[in-house]
Subunit: 427 residues, 4 copies
Amino acid sequence: MGAASASQLPSGLPEQNLPARFLAARAASERLATGLSDADATVQSMPDASPAKWHLAHTSWFFETLILEPHAPDFQPFDPRFGYLFNSYYETLGPRHDRPRRGMLTRPTLAEVLDYRRHVTAAVLALVESRPSREMAALVELGCQHEQQHQELLLTDILHLFASNPLEPACFSAPSPVATGEPPEPGFIDMPGGIVEIGHDGPGFAFDCEGPRHRRLLEPYRIANWPVTNRAWIAFIADGGYAEPRWWLSEGWAARQETGWEAPLYWELRDGIWTTMSLHGRRPVMPEAPVCHISFYEADAYARWAGLRLPTEFEWECAFADAPVRGNFADSRLFAPHGALAGAAASPTKAYGDVWEWTASAFSPYPRFRPAAGAVGEYNGKFMSGQYVLRGGSCATPAGHVRPGYRNFFPPHARWQFSGLRLAADC
Amino acid sequence: MGAASASQLPSGLPEQNLPARFLAARAASERLATGLSDADATVQSMPDASPAKWHLAHTSWFFETLILEPHAPDFQPFDPRFGYLFNSYYETLGPRHDRPRRGMLTRPTLAEVLDYRRHVTAAVLALVESRPSREMAALVELGCQHEQQHQELLLTDILHLFASNPLEPACFSAPSPVATGEPPEPGFIDMPGGIVEIGHDGPGFAFDCEGPRHRRLLEPYRIANWPVTNRAWIAFIADGGYAEPRWWLSEGWAARQETGWEAPLYWELRDGIWTTMSLHGRRPVMPEAPVCHISFYEADAYARWAGLRLPTEFEWECAFADAPVRGNFADSRLFAPHGALAGAAASPTKAYGDVWEWTASAFSPYPRFRPAAGAVGEYNGKFMSGQYVLRGGSCATPAGHVRPGYRNFFPPHARWQFSGLRLAADC
Amino acid sequence: MGAASASQLPSGLPEQNLPARFLAARAASERLATGLSDADATVQSMPDASPAKWHLAHTSWFFETLILEPHAPDFQPFDPRFGYLFNSYYETLGPRHDRPRRGMLTRPTLAEVLDYRRHVTAAVLALVESRPSREMAALVELGCQHEQQHQELLLTDILHLFASNPLEPACFSAPSPVATGEPPEPGFIDMPGGIVEIGHDGPGFAFDCEGPRHRRLLEPYRIANWPVTNRAWIAFIADGGYAEPRWWLSEGWAARQETGWEAPLYWELRDGIWTTMSLHGRRPVMPEAPVCHISFYEADAYARWAGLRLPTEFEWECAFADAPVRGNFADSRLFAPHGALAGAAASPTKAYGDVWEWTASAFSPYPRFRPAAGAVGEYNGKFMSGQYVLRGGSCATPAGHVRPGYRNFFPPHARWQFSGLRLAADC
Amino acid sequence: MGAASASQLPSGLPEQNLPARFLAARAASERLATGLSDADATVQSMPDASPAKWHLAHTSWFFETLILEPHAPDFQPFDPRFGYLFNSYYETLGPRHDRPRRGMLTRPTLAEVLDYRRHVTAAVLALVESRPSREMAALVELGCQHEQQHQELLLTDILHLFASNPLEPACFSAPSPVATGEPPEPGFIDMPGGIVEIGHDGPGFAFDCEGPRHRRLLEPYRIANWPVTNRAWIAFIADGGYAEPRWWLSEGWAARQETGWEAPLYWELRDGIWTTMSLHGRRPVMPEAPVCHISFYEADAYARWAGLRLPTEFEWECAFADAPVRGNFADSRLFAPHGALAGAAASPTKAYGDVWEWTASAFSPYPRFRPAAGAVGEYNGKFMSGQYVLRGGSCATPAGHVRPGYRNFFPPHARWQFSGLRLAADC
């Protein structure tokens, strides 16, 4: 999850809108947390997940440490001990509380963390208003993008926690009925390949790992016009897809054997019906919705079973770079992948929203990539091993956060994100 | 921790006082939890510990399952799913939530658990008042004793949780100043040995493992008139006691090497002063107080270093069977071991209260011991391997709960209980 | 496994026979190894086991370190690096090769280790003949007893290794047919209890943990006249003994769940017949032979299933102190428990030989026990936690090694020794 | 490591030389094992390594299973149980002995395995001579290539085993003095980039993962004319390279923290001199030799410290595709990386031989890659996650085995291969 240095400042960014942009990003986090009890916000359900309270505090720490401390001369930290508690992984910013022990922090309470947020929000706002500058705007924008990333993680982590509770509580009340649309006929989009331009280049914000923009040579290929659905996945299960090693990568099969995977995360067969845990509690699986909560290994096995393959991240980007970035994002407040939708969440290919799509590409630096100097340089570059790229955003991604060149990444065994897949083929 | 069958009903137990006794036991648990937030009451700091909320619910489940379900025909469970959530280890009472996952239960909330408690308390009270019987009295008494055991565990587990937080919060506000007394001259009590009677036998309540009363042959021995103090323990540390394998059992040395023990649990040297975490936050170690939060292995190593040994549980019981059961218990609300005290907490030998004392005795059945039939038979008997007996109660034990023949037990590496030691010698 | 200090020298030990005694003990080890390849003698099948080559070398190191180095002024070690390689656990004798890495030592070869043995044997023999003394005799006797203990371990460890090989090789060729006898009618021996004397006291050798001799008070009890047989164990299996938690200690049930125990170690059902791996390869289980390769937890569960209990080690010793120490020992070269035998291996109760019998007693020091000073003090005392006492010797114990007061000990989950059980009851 | 299907048969392969080629490959394995004892050949020093005996048997099993069983109608297996013992990872070829338990197989002995080899060699030879065909030639060639891969692994695994022994034995006697040459002036080779052809395409053998040949677009780059030397690595160590997280990938730093890496595997500082374990025993590190036994993480950290980067596998191949495949291979019998050499092992860039060079490329399928049908399809394709590509061969690779397009691969933490690095830079 990449960092903007000052030089990355989007040239056309309207600085005068920065306060509103900043306040909206901060408020969105708090809105997500409204249904949570102090305990909900505190518990850590696994080392890979973080407590909601931690996300709320860490995003504030990020503003405090990267903006207020170096730039606001009279800034008083809310609590000087929070630097230790809420640093995530920045080695250059000093020692930090052990990641797997984040769930021990019953204090500060959720209410205190919300006070901390108000303190930081007010201080950043004052700074931005008193000292507008392109550098400040770039840093605040980075902080907002960072905040949005943690909004998504807050949702995935709360879902994991609630799914760990035999009571299977709902985080949100049931969504309003949603306008549905017509899905396309299943098919492929033919792409000619050739030398294409990949990576961010333009006036808007992007994380460092999305650039530099550069050329790639693609062979002709085809890419599916819709993600793989739950209905198709159920056919894979029924055909013994989870029991047949020949579809699986060796590491994937080992993971499957060790963990006993027999369906996507959260799926359970109840009275003959596949159900899944969601932020609205346990629900029947919707056949037309994109399959979700699968690992890279499962995505790859499915593709092999289907006689096809995953697209590379370059094929994905080339296919959808010009598509409108519309779809089922967090702002629709559905918080789950859906079938074809109408209205603001409509998308003819579902390239954006619903589920992040695993690609065949290991997360690697683009040619001439250089991390920024200092702490922001730790944002993405040091994670460029052992991870695969996902593209397109999900139903838990804030609208406006994702871009055609956006590179999300997770280890191949991760399943608790809103992750699915789309198929590709050689021509 | 032992179960009374109906036949164990204390003959002289005043049944008419049972309601008051019951309500007092229930209220004491709730009083301990008053300073806790919902999050404090939810988090599990290690697999051996349980959340406070779990203790509050489990003790209610115990009354519900062993008394209300079989005896109250119209009883409606507060929530039928709680049986699965709050069973501790009773194989005969059906499946249960995994112990290391108790901390995932952010729901029910603390407030809901307190509602659950009220529901159960009212139902038990109605049953007791409407259908007094000796069998009922025995079961309610067992439930109250069980409740008291969990009051102590609630305190030890909260201390462990708060000590896991770098903020080191206090659970209770600082105690009132306490009247101090004169400690005895350090020395030993000479005991003649011979054939002695061991184990419970009398009108009061006891857990099954405290009997049957039987004869033991003891050689003449000497037992210290005071537990080992922090001052003495600091001398052990200074003399390299933690660095010298010859003082240690082989398993103890392995544990010490693996964990890096260099002092009792919670101790830290800050600015040259030994401090310890307590339920009032971090405090300097009191030199005259009994050393606390040590494992059996450390107690055993200390005794060997001192050229002495631990007493057997029989030697301990024989020495203190006739001493008054007075001392620094939880009702003094000091919640920490202290030096010599005056008033209600005064004790010339500190045999009772302050710290549980590790003995040299592995926890084994007494001759002719038979566990009770049914679920209560799982109370103690099945734990009779891999544990050592501790005697005398601690500053976290409710006053009135402990008896001369009371057998507490923990694995030899456990350190989070209020556990210390007393020395003994052969004559 | 206990150490004799010089003061423990058996008063009546005929010093003039020491050379023959010593040479016989050394030769017996080498005889056991004759069927082993260099590789067989090198591999370590689990951390609890040691390679045969290691046993052969370690027993030599013991003589070298405790006798030759301090007492033979001109002694040249065979290889000065062997002290590091072949120290077992003596902290006072310097650093040592990690126990779980003993199987890495492909060099020295088996042939070199046998050379090492010859070197040490010759040097000890020269020393003993040139400087006979009571102290020397005591040390050599200790070394011989130590050597015999490792002879048994060599056999149990080789069996474990060979059982880890899907080819299931035999270590020894099939034994000659053996004279069989009549087993007794199943029954119990009534014992009056009372104050009895326990522990070693007499002219012969004993390990330190077998004393001091002291008094115990026993209640009247009954002890079975024969160990539990395979036939009886098969009934326990058939009755679901391994599937029913109520028979099991809590730790035992956890071990059973984790490991999937469903029968004794090495047992496999093949074509409807229970078979077991033995030092002669895989064989059908003999119904009348004592059950073998069970853990303490299994023994304890069996006894509870049978409505009985294990005897304490004191009850065992009191019952069989006056029985002749005859039975199926390693010198019969059957290397497996058998049913009733005739001739030298006949025993009306099978108290000695065939299988070590788990007792209900945790391994603890006897009253007034003091380990010897120096390295030999590490022999037994430091293992006095986490272990249970076994009595009586096995088919892998050298004849003459075991005594009525002999205390063997292993952790409660250990199954790879020749371990069985005998039942007891209260009167 | 990739499999040739019959259709991959090199068109120009001289079938009449196949018997000699086959016999030479088989004999080379046996020659490597001549210095090993039965025990040396049996022990497994870690789960990633295999015993030498296992390599010798598994390569025979490969011929037996893929050639003799399907094609030689009268073939009698040497031992029908060996199929279970010596299958490596072919799920389609039935169950197999657990990889981490390969070291338990003290039987069959080394001598029996050599008999097994002779049996298989003779049967393959007879088949090849009686039924020459292109398909047979392709399969035998695949078996020979497979055999050569295991020759290298046999060496790396024996080195790991011998390094686990405190005696640090030598596998081979010291090599003859070697003719040395002049290294080039340190520098870079400028490469223009552009659209280049990558992958195997031609008459000779290649594994499936080396193709299909396809086009890549490379930006202009520079690549070092020599691998990084020990002298340079010592400067990295001296500069605190192992102590500074900013040079490291996040996973790499975690691995470094967990394992305590402070130098390449096998390095130890003795009397102020860096030494390394080798197949000739422990030796001082040669300053001018390429650094060896480093992980991908270390290689990557070094490159970042040096302000440079690793080349991609495409950059590497493009730079050295036309260089002669000469260098320090196993046939020189030096079995260690060296500085500049003269004679047959001379190489102006050391692109081939000495050390495998980690590249920046995750091991992924080339466009249009399809694994072969059947068991040989498991050869490479299923390992295409979690691994990085290494190029160029090493001092343990048989001469003639490696090609410009050869793709070796290992997980990023692996260090026991002969692995080093070469630097690259953007232009």
